[in-house]
Each structure stands twice: as C-alpha cells, then as structure tokens.
Symmetry: C2
Subunit: 78 residues, 2 copies
C-alpha cells in the first residue's frame, strides 16, 4: 500500500496497449490478427491507436484470438 495513484488510463488505451504487446509477443502482424478475427486490418490499426470505441463483442473476439481473457485486455498498468 502507500502507492500513489497512477494517472488514469482510458479503456481504449488499455486495450490498445495490451493488443500491441500481445501481438508483438506472438509475432503477429496487424494483417494476420485481422484475418484471424475476421475484422478489417485498418479497423485493428485504429483500435491500436485508441481511435475506436470498440464494442464488447469485438474486444472479446480479439481477446480470444490473442489467447487472453477479456479482463486481461482491460487491465490497468501495474
């Protein structure tokens, strides 16, 4: 305890950060991830730039393809 509160990181930014990190760890291109998710590559790109107000169903779909639980994609930074 006694930790200082981190500056607030938005849900969009959290998802974007976790997606990029996990995609890098899996050595997946945006194109390949898009294909596996059956979403468009430019859509994946815009999510990773926090530009999109993504729906829960799509975040869930992306989590599944990345082998993560949706709660992991929304986790605050440590």
């Amino acid at each position: 305890m006694g930790s200082r509160r981190k500056p607030y990181e938005s849900a969009r930014d959290r998802v974007a950060r976790h997606m990029r990190a996990r995609r890098a760890a899996l050595e997946l291109s945006q194109e390949k991830l898009a294909e596996l998710c059956e979403l468009h590559r430019t859509y994946i790109g815009s999510i990773e730039r926090s530009e999109r107000n993504v729906s829960l169903d799509n975040v869930e779909r992306i989590a599944t393809v990345l082998g993560l639980d949706i709660a992991d994609l929304l986790a605050a930074s440590e």
Copy 2:
C-alpha cells in the same frame, strides 16, 4: 491449481452480472444509475439483460459511476 475450467461466461454476461450486483449493493435503481450515467433507463436495463453489444466508452462510463474499475466489470466469476 487443479481447478476445473468454469463454463465460459461472455463479456456481456460478466458486465450484466457485475452491474446488477453493484447496483444492488449501492441500492441504486436502474433509473438512478441511468441518470447518473446520462444514459437511458431502458438502455441500462437491456445491458443488464446482456442484450446489448455495449461500447467500451459506455462500459467505462458505467464503471466510473459505480465506483469500479472497468476491469472489475469484466472480471470472470471466481
């Protein structure tokens, strides 16, 4: 460890379950929650019935009003 895998609970169902529980704990009506979120009461009701593919921004808004982190609203059941 050694635990059996729980049946999968969708993101919609998780949000719905946590919202209902937290709203009950805070003794907030759907109407009051809707008002605080600046969303429509019937919209809140449909989210709590897992009928809506809610956007991240709205889940975040609801979490904030309920005094939760968005990751708490997406947490899997124990």
